[in-house]
Symmetry: D2
Subunit: 344 residues, 4 copies
Amino acid sequence: MMKMKVGVVGASGYAGGELLRLLAGHPECEVACITSRKFAGKSAAEVHPNLRDILKIKFEDLAPEKVASKCDFVFTATPHGASMSTIPVFVDSGIKAVDLSGDFRFKNVKTYERYYGLKHSCPEIKAVFGLPELHRKEIKKARLVANPGCYAACVILGLAPVIKEDLTEVVAVDAKSGISGAGAEPSQKTHYPLTAESVLPYSVAAHRHLPEIEQELQVLNKKINISFVPHLVPVIRGISATMHCFLRRGINGERIATLYEKFYKNEPFVRILNAGEMPRMSAVRGSNYIDIGCFEVDEERKRAIIVAALDNLVKGAAGQAVQNMNIMRGFEETAGLKHAALYP
Amino acid sequence: MMKMKVGVVGASGYAGGELLRLLAGHPECEVACITSRKFAGKSAAEVHPNLRDILKIKFEDLAPEKVASKCDFVFTATPHGASMSTIPVFVDSGIKAVDLSGDFRFKNVKTYERYYGLKHSCPEIKAVFGLPELHRKEIKKARLVANPGCYAACVILGLAPVIKEDLTEVVAVDAKSGISGAGAEPSQKTHYPLTAESVLPYSVAAHRHLPEIEQELQVLNKKINISFVPHLVPVIRGISATMHCFLRRGINGERIATLYEKFYKNEPFVRILNAGEMPRMSAVRGSNYIDIGCFEVDEERKRAIIVAALDNLVKGAAGQAVQNMNIMRGFEETAGLKHAALYP
Amino acid sequence: MMKMKVGVVGASGYAGGELLRLLAGHPECEVACITSRKFAGKSAAEVHPNLRDILKIKFEDLAPEKVASKCDFVFTATPHGASMSTIPVFVDSGIKAVDLSGDFRFKNVKTYERYYGLKHSCPEIKAVFGLPELHRKEIKKARLVANPGCYAACVILGLAPVIKEDLTEVVAVDAKSGISGAGAEPSQKTHYPLTAESVLPYSVAAHRHLPEIEQELQVLNKKINISFVPHLVPVIRGISATMHCFLRRGINGERIATLYEKFYKNEPFVRILNAGEMPRMSAVRGSNYIDIGCFEVDEERKRAIIVAALDNLVKGAAGQAVQNMNIMRGFEETAGLKHAALYP
Amino acid sequence: MMKMKVGVVGASGYAGGELLRLLAGHPECEVACITSRKFAGKSAAEVHPNLRDILKIKFEDLAPEKVASKCDFVFTATPHGASMSTIPVFVDSGIKAVDLSGDFRFKNVKTYERYYGLKHSCPEIKAVFGLPELHRKEIKKARLVANPGCYAACVILGLAPVIKEDLTEVVAVDAKSGISGAGAEPSQKTHYPLTAESVLPYSVAAHRHLPEIEQELQVLNKKINISFVPHLVPVIRGISATMHCFLRRGINGERIATLYEKFYKNEPFVRILNAGEMPRMSAVRGSNYIDIGCFEVDEERKRAIIVAALDNLVKGAAGQAVQNMNIMRGFEETAGLKHAALYP
């Protein structure tokens, strides 16, 4: 059987490396081309040592036209700003693509320009927001999918059912991310002596993933007011979000759990936990699952707590992207993504 | 100069050990007696190896009457439930005491009995709630001080100024604690392979420190609605609380910062951070300071974020207890507590 | 295609859980039966939450005869001492088995009895030591394979080439293991506040894996003198061993590297690193690879350093066991074991 | 009482910050001047947030002559190479100094030049090697003390008694350091996702602290052969060294323990542990103690294991430097250094 040739633009970062790990084990794909300006000439294994003996390919410093000529499908895992200049080439060449940056996530380009501080160079190119649980049909037909931000994926999936049911309009989302979310480049924010034994809130006023969350959830309820604060915690991978929902009316925890089970009934990668179980980063580490649970209601204080956990590099980035590719290309949606998390 | 003889009942746990560390360096005290049923006969250093060569005393299994006869001042660092049976002895003997458990923190004994699931055996004994920043005058005259819970100390101090100013009635408090908060006894909750690389929300419906927080803050505003969720994070010591305040009216961050500076102007252990600085566990680790800062306002979404950090074993337990003792005995309030945190 | 029915005796621990994770993705096997006295009646996912939706089976409290009647192949992941009483049943029933405990690793039963402090109840049952790199032919024909200890696998593979080449007789092996090596049961040794920010040497005088190492390496050189000290480091998974080899004669690093490349030329799970690369736990985390490298020689001081790293739960336990099963049953040796490590 | 005016040259790094923490609590000193090119104009607390409200002074970009004019005593905590150019100024001005870099540690300047790859610009300036346990008398009279390297302090003190007693000539030293040892500047070596859940051997062929160790121990036995490998472990502070001593003759553990107790009998900061106790980073964290213990002998394999632990920033750097200053100035040797470690 001929495998589909896949290119990964910007494959030297953590999301890029995770794409390579997943694609190396994908039954329908073959990694045909990986690009990196900085590491051109190096082998995949020199940059991602877990790939030694598994993926034998070298980084190239290639123009997007060259990538297009070598591949049937492309992932762009470059920083925001960079995708704007390569994606038009793939769109013009008729190459389907998933972009992992923030460049194409917003329906309203003004929102993008405000939160990213950049002028968008191709606002006419439209992408589908790549959350299959909300947009599977559009993804199936899409030529370009904008993969959600890691926090956004966690929070949108974590809140959609209660927002849709109109149980709450005021929600405080307190999210904690592993340090790999800050990327492969060393900085004060990732320096071990400062990150270990520590919890660091950041981008408090308005993190870039908040408008993504609002865009997707306001479709369900225009009036929601979300306070979102991300934190760096001393963990390599994983996002855990605690969502404090101030309730508009009385409801008990089981009812909420039932709502979630219905909402996500046929979803292959959303697991709704039982009462008494708590979503854990270790139960999703390295896997494409998002676990949602807790569903505890404090009736006296009229609030419900919902907790969601996923791996920021998998369901929060590369795994989500592969799931989108599977849908776009008509592969089995779970192809290459069935493995269990590393626990403990 | 004669030093005051101090006893520590229940000195084998982490709060007890921290009391010994601080008292060993206190200029006015001498540790005269330490008790533990389990470790009676062992030296302090066998249980707390940091005290080798520093504190030469043995654990005894002593009745409270015996402790009273040997000491001028007592700390009880036993679990809740146990303090109820020893504190009356100290009160009767005229020995001033600080209790570190939850047994005497509540004005309304019903609240205690509901949240701790125990009948209180001496509801007639009244203690002063040991937060000097709110109750210094009463502490000065108190015979018995109930030391606040670690989370409670952090959240009450973190919120008092905005609540007093009536800026908010709806607050979501997301608190993260180091694992030492779970005590010295191994359990699934403290098992390294499950706690490392993880964030665990717990006691979500209503943690025992929530009614403490409400008791103290409702004095300032009866109608506040607080959602409080504690988490275990992979850190040994430290609490960091992110407080999402949904605002009643427009205000900017500098104004909030100014409120805090005024409120805590003469406090020796409350540090208000400048704009752009974030409270860090590492800046308070091992010290009696609480750092409060962030003060970022999202005007569009009408909410302010306030962040506070302290060391759960110091300002959240033993250091706070020593500060209370200093006030009760007329020592310099900062005696034995002036050292800087370990950073990094 | 009919899949082989596999049983896992003692499947609630970390090695057992890892077997389930690997077997759930194995193309030739089906997990037919998992036993645990403590968790009988619970689902696999209640104990190992990473298996939710992936492996739907319940723990049973079954006699070995019952396991034998339900399975074509058995793994025993019970503690040493327990395997002695179940393995004879499988041997008698003609069921091939891999035992993950220390019970059948020793050619000389006296060595076992001395280091494990137990009388062996069936010394007549002989097993093959399950390191395919040294004993593949015997494993192919074996009815019972004794899976190596996690440290032993790492050190034997790490030293075999230099010992065989007679380059050294005096070696100090300093090994560091993640805390999962201490098992799923909480204890002082696994208590987060004591294990984090710490390195703990243990079993210093003579760890149980040392006689395994000696048994296998003395075949290559009778006179070797090995000092072996294991340490717990604040890591969930992974073993890294630094082997200080005092050299008998001059040799340079490249020569040593070449020896290793030859020795392990056709091995699917041994990766020899290039000069300048260092084996890392993160490059093998969750995978069945052992990485060996460093090969630096200090000519002035006549010693060479060799470093090896593997995942204690995979190549050090469950992955090794599956590799042994693959060989014993004639499956492709790498079946179910091809995935890359989680990096970072 | 007039306090001595102290200057810290290069006070923005971790050793510099630790000096400020210790000097801020020192009864005889006052920090008069702190220098940093990069942070000139910033306050101490902006760089070291633990010092807020504790040390109110600003960084200056000062020539050494200016520092000399403002201070009675100087610490140089600049990188090696830089101290060579400032120390002569202090020597000429008659200002006593402790240098924390490697520039003045070697009796033979050739050794320095070989291991540091630099030409020494003032080989005529001689310093005393600042280990009071070996050189207290010389330190008392010294004008310039070269503070030992962090690993060197740990290993020299850990081995001196067995080497002096001629029990061993072949020793493998496997040392593990917290990441703060790599300094305050972010790099791949300190990047959280690569350092957490990891153990990294480095400078394997010959770390710069090895010739220091040899210089000091060869005085006791010319023929010793030491293999030294340092590792980075996921810990902020602390060094733990496991010393595998291949024995020349039979001896038991108690005898070795007794040797150590005698050797260090009157030392205020060396603690010899009892049988069954293991030196722990957490028992010395933040304190100036070095704990030495283990002393287990494997008679069959003729080797003894000795373990030592200290805090790399205190007894391994700033605390040691203050101890040296105390001796040089005739203060009580333990002044400002009596506090207990943070445990846990």
